[in-house]
């Protein structure tokens, strides 16, 4: 088992507060690795440093052995990292299909292609539609993104991440704001997805995390206090104390 993503001694501070405090983490190829932790533990800050929105103060991030610590976000995306956002981040004034088509065409290397109409390029549109079918949004393909419900926006986020063809998916609270029924749907979907991509999942929904994850890391005040299988994490005394609020 080789590490697709290797994080060493990562540090990020905001005005003296260490949001990420010497984090070491290895995400193995093909696994679904969840990060849990109380509010303010620094989960989104960590993800942002992996996607390139934030640059760490020190430490290294290796993707497939390649140092990407200081690389800008668009380079990381090219190297195979896709991110879904905790707060929905879509191009609202475009159609659902166009949002996904933008993700599909990102695989082409560059988009300095000025002549052919993007809407008429069959392989782009078909791939976009396929990604939408995977999450059950194909019926809404030609609606404006702004017209979709919150739950549908969450699914679209996933469809876009998938359509980039990225090897590593960073999913930042995909269940955020979903009702029980929608959450269950998302869990089913992520279960199907599991194994086809490497996934780093941040999630508050404990049931979902324990049902999905191969391994779980627990982040508290910017530090990883434990990493292990769901069973190990459940049994870990320090986790129960610091996070699950017992003992």
């Amino acid at each position: 088992m080789s590490a697709l993503l290797q994080i060493n001694a990562l540090v990020k501070t905001f005005g003296g507060v260490a949001a990420t405090d010497k984090v070491d983490l290895a995400v193995t190829k093909g696994e679904l690795h969840a990060i849990i932790g109380p509010n303010g533990a620094g989960k989104t800050t960590l993800i942002s440093q992996l996607s390139g929105t934030l640059i760490p103060d020190s430490g290294t991030i290796l993707l497939n052995g390649k140092n990407i610590t200081k690389k800008p976000a668009y380079t990381r995306a090219r190297l195979g990292i896709a991110r879904s956002y905790q707060i929905t981040s879509l191009v609202m004034e475009m159609t659902v299909r166009q949002n996904v088509a933008l993700a599909v065409q990102s695989k082409e290397g560059h988009a300095f292609r000025f002549i052919r109409a993007a809407d008429k390029i069959a392989h782009l549109q078909n791939a976009a539609l396929e990604a939408l079918r995977d999450v059950g949004l194909d019926v809404r393909a030609d609606d404006l993104t702004t017209e979709l419900s919150h739950g549908e926006h969450r699914l679209l986020e996933i469809a876009i991440a998938l359509a980039t063809g990225a090897e590593l998916l960073l999913l930042d609270e995909p269940m955020a704001g979903l009702g029980p029924e929608e959450s269950a749907k998302m869990v089913t979907f992520l279960k199907e997805l599991k194994g086809t991509r490497t996934i780093l999942l941040i999630e508050h929904d404990m049931d979902a995390v324990f049902a999905l994850a191969d391994r779980i890391s627990v982040l508290v005040y910017g530090r990883i206090i434990a990493t292990g299988t769901p069973t190990e994490i459940r049994a870990d005394a320090s986790v129960r104390h610091a996070y699950l609020g017992e003992g």
Binding site: P72, A82, V91, M94, L102, F112, I115, R116, D119, L124
Partner: protein, 323 residues
């Protein structure tokens, strides 16, 4: 779909009117209106090019008049040297040379100023593009050789194979064809994969960067294309007015171009043209009634911006629809 066809219909009708009416004015002895239409169509080209970055790209460039000025001086300066000597390497009446110079220098100016301006966002972008525009303004203002603030008279219009630009109808038709070409170019670009990135970055830049697009480069490319097209419009305007001065590149001129785009409807094919038509006509009509025409003019513009969201094109395509 209904509003789509409405948009196309307005576009085709408007363009047909622009093709037919001005020559009719000429033949019915009202050459003044042909002149008015020529100025209008040339400014519409500049507005269409501004729309690429302002409307579709969401980049509020407040310095686009600079490109018009550069384009006009690219006609005036070579013609001046051909007439009065000096600078043999650029002295020429050749229209193709003028256009190459206008487009080339405008593109270069857009590349350099855009590379810096696009590092900023929002209000800062507006201010810095305006500052670069004013820089170009003061540059020509200070060159006495070319008339400084008095301006420069173009004695001989560009020589274009097969055309005579001294003929007002030919100049008009050339401008009209250029306008149609500009509209088609912007439309093609904006529907392409490149255009998707430009529009996507307007809606959500972080998302596009997260997908792997270095949006800075795409925006810079759009900025250069837009500047080059506006420079071409400037070359036409120089040939039309045969008098150029730094005044045509001042920030108020840039503001007028922005108004045309927003008034007619940003991010639409015909909006900037409609905006230019209404802008020029209003200016003409109101100024014939009162020397204080700018007051009612300003009020009308404010009214349109406040009450017709999406500009006149937005107004025309939504208000007509039956519920």
């Amino acid at each position: 779909m209904k509003s789509m066809s409405r948009t196309s219909w307005i576009t085709l009708a408007g363009m047909a009117a622009l093709l037919i009416l001005p020559p009719l004015f000429l033949w019915s002895g009202n050459e003044f209106y042909l002149q008015l239409a020529t100025r209008l169509v040339i400014l519409a080209i500049a507005a269409v090019s501004l729309n690429l970055v302002l409307g579709y790209g969401g980049l509020v460039s407040f310095g686009h008049a600079a490109y018009i000025g550069i384009g006009a001086y690219a006609v005036g300066i070579p013609a001046y040297h051909e007439t009065y000597g000096g600078f043999d390497s650029i002295a020429s009446y050749d229209g193709l040379f003028h256009v190459a110079l206008a487009v080339g220098i405008s593109a270069l100016f857009a590349l350099v100023t855009g590379a810096i301006s696009l590092r900023t966002k929002g209000v800062y972008f507006i201010m810095i593009t305006m500052a670069f525009g004013q820089m170009a303004y003061y540059l020509f203002f200070s060159i006495n050789e070319y008339g400084g603030d008095d301006g420069l008279v173009i004695d001989v219009r560009s020589e274009v194979p097969g055309l005579n630009l001294d003929n007002p109808l030919q100049l008009y038709l050339l401008s009209y064809v250029a306008l149609v070409a500009a509209m088609l170019i912007v439309r093609t670009i904006i529907n392409s994969r490149f255009g998707m990135v430009i529009k996507g970055a307007k809606g959500n830049n972080d998302r596009l960067v997260g997908l792997g697009y270095n949006t800075y480069l795409y925006r810079l490319a759009a900025y250069v294309i837009s500047g080059a097209m506006a420079g071409f419009a400037g070359a036409l305007l120089g040939n039309f007015t045969t008098f150029i001065s730094p005044e045509m590149m001042g920030w108020t001129r840039s503001g007028e171009l922005m108004f045309m785009v927003i008034l007619g409807g940003a991010a639409t094919t015909f909006g900037p043209v409609l905006g230019a038509v209404i802008f020029i006509l209003l200016e003409e009509i109101l100024s014939s009634y009162t020397i204080f025409w700018q007051l009612p003019f300003g009020l009308i513009l404010i009214g349109v911006v406040l009450f017709a969201r999406g500009g006149l094109m937005g107004f025309l395509t939504t208000k007509w629809r039956k519920p």
